[in-house]
């Protein structure tokens, strides 16, 4: 990857500027003109959801959120901030790895033969606007899972390939956020085309904008902008630094992978099982949970069949249904599977943790199960009973 300085040297395009409201408006229009389907945050059904945007007017100007375990509320802000809300009900996974995708169709010919037609990967070119640092990491983790191995998934690859990423550094984390613990935020490091840091002070809402790719610099060059000034730079850095100190949650200061590996029979698993609905919400809101199942459908005549892939969840009994019954028949084994995979065996499988600290699973769990609380409890139980793992 080329650094910002190299980009300027190569193209003469700006690598840093300050955007106002007009710059944000223009950003959406420029991305659309470049053929991108722009997806970003907007308020719908009393939540900040991700949806296709026609203009920057649809962004959540002046909306914030209050988060707790099992509870989400939008609230009005007086400062007009656009990106002062944290993770919502969906993640970018919904666009890169949609809930239901057709894989192929089959037709029976007049002579009884079968013609199978594989579905072409979609010709979509997304721009994601307002991607948090935690979610940039989540996309990287999904990339490893979906296209980084021996059998890359062409549908994911096709959706992912052209994505233009506009990151938004986090300046107001939620009460359920713990990206600092997971080392994923709140500042963005790499992997973006443009990065925005919102500054709301007496100077009015504005955005420090940095380019992280050649296309990012080219887009920035098309926007109405001001030269970056030290006041804005300092305010932006201070806002992100403050956010790092305002995390609502944390993970225990221990090797989580070992904690999971060495405490499979801890009493705490029974405690959390009593509170777990087995509804599967945590897996579906998680920005990295990727598991799917296949559904074969046919029509009444049996002459036309389709194979679909849809999200599945390790909380569903049928997920591990084999001859003779499900592998994880007990509720306890299903919650344990999810958490030990997410922050433990994910390392063995994909070389990193599967958790980015976005807190979605905490917020959208109807009973408010908090994986950081569970990890702390497991850590305490292990510490009480023997050498610290």
């Amino acid at each position: 990857m080329t650094g910002p300085g190299d980009i300027r040297a190569a193209t003469g395009a700006p690598t840093e500027a300050v955007l106002g409201r007009d710059g944000l408006d223009a950003l959406v229009q420029v991305l659309k003109r470049r053929g991108r389907t722009v997806v970003g945050p907007t308020v719908r059904d009393r939540a900040v959801v991700l949806a296709e945007l026609d203009s920057a007017d649809e962004l959540p100007h002046g909306w914030g959120v209050e988060l707790e375990a099992g509870r989400y509320r939008v609230r009005r802000r007086t400062d007009g901030a656009v990106f002062a809300h944290s993770a919502g009900p969906q993640s970018w996974k919904s666009f890169l790895h949609p809930p239901r995708v057709r894989q192929w169709t089959a037709e029976r010919d007049a002579d009884g033969g079968l013609t199978v037609c594989e579905d072409e990967p979609p010709a979509v070119s997304y721009a994601f606007l307002g991607v948090r640092a935690c979610d940039l990491h989540a996309i990287r983790i999904l990339d490893r899972v979906m296209i980084g191995g021996k059998y890359p998934d062409p549908a994911y690859g096709s959706r992912r390939k052209g994505v233009f990423l506009v990151a938004a550094e986090c300046t107001e984390p939620g009460a359920t956020c713990f990206c600092v613990s997971m080392g994923t935020g709140p500042a963005v490091d790499t992997g973006y085309d443009l990065a925005l840091t919102e500054v709301v002070d007496d100077g009015g809402p504005r955005f420090l904008c940095r380019s992280g790719s050649e296309e990012g610099a080219a887009v920035l060059a098309e926007l109405p902008r001001h030269q970056a000034d030290d006041t804005t730079r300092t305010a932006a850095a201070e806002a992100v630094r403050r956010a790092a100190g305002n995390m609502g949650r944390s993970m225990p200061p221990t090797d989580l992978r070992a904690l999971m590996r060495d405490n499979l029979e801890a009493d705490r698993w029974d405690d959390v099982t009593a509170r777990c609905l087995n509804c599967g919400n945590c897996t579906m809101v998680c920005p990295t949970c990727f598991c799917t199942t296949t559904e074969d459908v046919s029509d009444l005549t049996g002459d036309h069949a389709e194979r679909w892939r849809r999200w599945d969840s390790c909380y569903d009994l049928d997920f591990t249904l084999l001859h003779g019954g499900p592998v994880r028949a007990g509720k306890r084994s299903r919650y344990r599977q999810w958490l030990t995979h997410k922050i433990g065996t994910w390392h063995d499988q994909f070389g990193s943790t599967g958790c980015v600290g976005c807190g979605r699973c905490i917020v959208w769990c109807p009973t408010g199960i908090d994986l950081t609380e569970e990890a702390h409890a497991l850590h305490q139980e292990a510490t009480r009973q023997g050498p610290t793992p």
Binding site: R44, D45, R46, A47, V49, G70, R71, Y72, R73, V74, P89, Q90, S94, P99, R100, R108, G112, A274, R275, C276, L277, N278, C279, G280, N281, M284, V285, E295, D296, V297, S298, D299, L300, T301, G302, D303, R310, W311, S313, Y315, D316, L317, D318, K331, V363, W364, C365, P366, T367
Partner: protein, 263 residues
């Protein structure tokens, strides 16, 4: 319209649709398959379907769709006869799979109900309980819902014709909400919702329109009602409200789950 390949001579499997104690809504779901009705009639001989036609033919039937619960002494004999005449028997709807809303009598004295509802209770012959078909005869597949979902009924018929297992997931309504991109009404609005413990199948109809799930499809394949009750209380329901919330169309199924999950 051609019949399926592999079925020589054009002989079509024979369909029978039967009704016990019910409101007929689930049978009507079959007639609601307007675009597919000709296709169904092309693949199946509709031999017995009094709701649609008075031209009924005797058994045996290859596929029987049975609606309604066993609620009268006459039903006891009839359900056995239908089973004996049917190769593949599928129960459709909450009455047939769980006894329906009329199973509320199972937890009360039916003679009190008779005296309240009928001017001449002595004319009424009824059982003390309303029970699912599967309590009386072996059932090959149970399709849930009050009423059943049109798409799921088509899937059951299509799967029967293809000789495969129907693709009817046993997971919670939450799966459907998340697939549709719905904002969770329980978490974001504080609306009491049975979705996390309810069997999917309706496509999350109520939450899609901002209402909590009423549990029309009965309990999901795996539930933990004990974990949901405190959430319902938090969102303003008292124990009486929660009891009434659970004891509707699938009262027997949710009661069974209560006995397991709420020690």
């Amino acid at each position: 319209m051609t019949t399926s390949a592999g079925r020589p001579g054009g002989s079509r499997p024979r369909l029978g649709v039967f009704k016990f104690a019910s409101c007929d809504g689930c049978q009507l779901t079959l007639l609601d398959c307007e675009d597919e009705l000709l296709g169904i009639a092309g693949e199946l001989e509709i031999a017995h379907f009094p709701e649609a036609s008075s031209d009924v033919a005797p058994g045996p039937y290859d596929l029987a769709l049975v609606e309604g619960s066993v609620s009268t002494p006459e039903h006891l004999a009839r359900v056995r006869r239908i089973r004996a005449e049917s190769r593949h028997l599928v129960t459709i709807g909450a009455c047939a799979t769980a006894g329906g809303v009329q199973a509320l009598r199972n937890y009360a004295d039916v003679t009190d109900y008779l005296a309240t509802v009928y001017a001449r209770p002595d004319y009424i012959e009824t059982l003390a309980t309303s029970t699912p078909i599967a309590d009386h005869v072996p059932v090959d597949f149970e399709l849930r819902g009050c009423p059943i979902d049109r798409g799921q009924l088509l899937e059951v018929i299509t799967a029967f014709l293809a000789g495969r297992k129907p693709g009817i997931p046993n997971h919670s309504v939450c799966f459907s909400c998340k697939q549709r991109g719905n904002v969770c009404v329980l978490v974001a609005h504080g609306t009491p919702c049975l979705g996390p413990v309810t069997h999917a199948g309706c496509g999350a109809l109520c939450p899609t329109f901002g209402r909590g799930c009423y549990g029309c499809f009965g309990p999901a394949g795996t539930t933990n009602l004990g974990a949901l009750v405190p959430v319902l209380r938090r969102d303003g329901m008292n124990d009486g409200d929660i009891g009434r919330f659970l004891h509707t169309f699938n009262v027997t199924d949710f009661t069974a789950v209560e006995e397991e999950d709420l020690p």
